[in-house]
Symmetry: C3
Subunit: 359 residues, 3 copies
């Protein structure tokens, strides 16, 4: 039975890598948790679930896997995609679902601490998926789960109730990174996979947790090159740059999409995350023209390239691109991929991956 013998305050002071020695595979908090094999396995499992679901018997089989388990989706930041796709994934696996999306209707409004709230959730449910504005919230939740007396039976073990981060402050969004990998893999299906590819990340790289989590995953691929296209004030933070240096992943910084549009294999667009700013009344300021994807760029893209976006978007992709019927525009498919990846993630954490693969 896992025990965590460290104070919460000390646990939170650890680096993410050091936290991993406690987290192991009990929870899913950081993109750094995944090996190449993990990533490949997740993608294979997501594909398998998707295929199974097409038949009535396959769908019923999936729905029988976790029908006695209860999931809580605790999302206190706005979310459409992550929330709905996790909820759909849980439904596909037959889980009972509950959600808590507003601190004002919870006991936190009566002065309860986050630790107590989490421990309370753990009294009733078998899985917590959470999105929180606090960078430490998911780590706190894991620590509470590891300390709490209540365990959940998974395989032959009594384990801490699993915690999955669905976005933590402005630092981490590991399941988004997994679905991005899944989408890139599918797009490069006939061109040898992600190894050797040139990937341009565009927009607000400084505060975009998705591009940060995706960058971490790049250590698992050979000869990948990253291009960061962003205005100076939104360029990638130094901690990621250091990470890339230490893993010898080549990268370059540019300030306009146009400088690399014709040579990259993937373009990953992001939105200016101005929810972290005080947005002026009158709305969001327009995105810098250099990091807007225009319809005409479709002509410049390599025929085998793909265009991703974690969504939601605003004006950083011209609206004509949405309905251009260009198969290289994959961000809507990326959403659906996200649901299947989340089916795979939950199935893996409850160790029913092998049962699915054997079907």
């Amino acid at each position: 039975m896992p025990v965590i013998d460290i104070l919460l305050s000390d646990f939170l002071k650890l680096s993410e890598v050091d936290k991993l020695s406690y987290i192991k595979d009990y929870a899913l908090l950081y993109a750094q948790q995944f090996s190449r094999k993990d990533l490949d396995d997740y993608c294979i499992l997501a594909d398998k679930c998707r295929a199974l679901f097409k038949s009535t018997e396959g769908a019923q089989k999936l729905a029988g896997l976790l029908s006695n388990r209860i999931a809580l989706n605790f999302f206190v930041q706005p979310s459409s995609r992550t929330f709905l796709s996790f909820s759909a994934a849980q439904a596909i696996l037959g889980m009972k679902r509950m959600s808590l999306r507003d601190l004002n209707i919870s006991s936190i409004s009566k002065g309860e601490s986050l630790e107590d709230s989490i421990r309370t959730f753990l009294s009733y449910v078998d899985l917590v998926v959470m999105r929180h504005f606090d960078n430490d919230a998911a780590a706190i939740a894991f620590w509470v789960a590891a300390k709490a007396a209540r365990r959940v039976s998974i395989g032959d073990e009594e384990r801490p109730i699993p915690i999955i981060s669905g976005g933590s402050g402005n630092l981490h969004h590991p399941t988004q990174a997994l679905l991005d990998i899944y989408t890139l893999g599918k797009s490069f299906n006939e061109s040898g996979g992600i190894d050797g590819k040139k990937i341009m990340l565009v927009g607000d790289l400084k505060r975009g947790r998705t591009v940060r989590s995706l960058s971490y995953l790049m250590k698992n691929y050979n000869n990948v090159e990253l291009i960061f296209a962003a205005p100076d004030q939104f360029q990638m933070k130094d901690d990621i740059i250091k990470f890339l240096d230490s893993h010898k992943i080549p990268y370059s910084k540019i300030d306009s999409i146009r400088d690399a549009i014709d040579s990259v294999d993937a373009i990953y667009m992001t939105r200016v995350q101005d929810e972290w700013d005080k947005v002026e009344k009158g709305g969001h300021p327009p995105t810098n023209d250099n990091v807007i994807f225009k319809k005409e760029y479709l002509k410049l893209m390599k025929p085998t390239a793909c265009l991703l976006h974690p969504l939601p978007k605003r004006d950083e992709i011209e609206i004509e691109v949405d309905y251009a019927d260009d198969p290289r525009v994959v961000y809507w498919r990326q959403e659906r991929n996200g649901m299947w990846m989340r089916v795979a993630i939950i199935a893996t954490i409850f160790q029913c991956d092998q049962k699915i693969l054997d079907s």
Copy 2:
């Protein structure tokens, strides 16, 4: 495979009737979509579902019909009845259900367009039921569904994800009109059905989307006469008047319930829709006495007449009427009818109506 080859802006400019040539039976947006046969079929199916549900086996049969489908109830205006009855109807048919009721917890709060939000929902779910303050919202959703790559298998076809309007701005509420027809039909069960009946619509006819949708449906019945009882400022709008003229449906305008209470076969009450006004602090102004249904009117009503209200109500029906135990007061039964009608609507859109009728 259905394709929509028209720009959204052009689609929205079309009249409702012209929109119908695109919408066909892929979505349910306007009361004008229904033929007499449709209405009769819906009512028969609703009755059949209700009867089936009474036995455990019947209930299980219904719950097996759509157990692999996911429904989203996207309601961004307040709703109790429509929301709960759609949710209950989906549960009865075994659907997995998700809801989104607050734009602040969705990505629309990050600047996402309604089109993008809808397209996102379509990535995860097999049915969207929606209520929105924007008159065009449901039409936009249909257009996005028709354009989106993701389809849902219904019968032998790959179809756009169905959109059902649960109330659109102050213009349409087609499923309410269906449940009103169902309720009228049941009330007139022993007096030959809706044909030939005199129906008085009372209250805020100008902004009440239910009376508008119900008026459209009258074209399907023979020799129906409508009486509009409303103060001048709330009288029925010209577009409906024109519609009635063009279908040769007789109508008259009066300003007091009393003027017709003893001669009509149905009285359909409505509430002053002052959520469209700036309501003064201190609450809702009282309803004009002429359009309040008083307990004493029960004595004036024909013994075979019925009293409907789409609800919620405020002061336009005296509270003593609620618990009068008068079988002609059918508005509470009308609610329950609504749930069964919505079971029929969803079953029909997913083409499992025949399966139910064959049970």
Copy 3:
């Protein structure tokens, strides 16, 4: 068929005991409803459900019991524990679940009365669990259910749709009292049960609905003694004192935990309920030191004593107590007990208790 032949206004004027002659076992509103046998039966049933759920077949059996029933959780005050545990309990029994937690998204925002809203819910669901700030809300709901034409089949009867109070104003929280009894019973399992025990209630006894409901239940046990530890302004109200006098239950009032910590068999902590005050900006004032449970008190407690709290807590228990790994600290287990007690409550109200016991 039960009929209620009394006006709502008259019903609300009755004492709780007099209301019980109408309520019978149709609804669960007041702790005064329970006999000793009821309490024992609930605890046995909760234990049985918990044991059954451990096996896959047992869990499936439970999930089959109420799979054609729909529950509504109507909670318009903040709640984490009661809401989540009722929802989990319903899921375990296979119920379809709906929730309404915000009056702004309901038709009450359009001026609908609580009576009408409740009657509307009753059109769609088979069970209403409700928490409301109005002391009378649950009684109103019961009255409406008793009056409404729609009934639910339970056993061989057509009964009013059951109403369960999940907390009513600052007066009642009967299901909390049941789970407290369940927790006390389990803690005293090897020391002869609750009879003869000395129980100290600590904190805001004046406005804490849980300690009030628990006090009512004490009439069912022999030789129980209550100790009320609270500052003067938060001491137990006279109506409870009168109740204890009339049932000859001994009690004493003290103002500090320390005065009795070494002699009591159970300590029941509560939070200052300052949501009923106008809380100053800048947060909650600190709790009076005399009614804070300190880690050092664990050394003073009897080895067989137990420490309960209905939760949420703030500063009235030192945080070190939470993770002290002391088996006498039972408030986290108390939460989980609450879920199983609520399974038992719902199973009993739908008369499937015997079916469970026979498994």
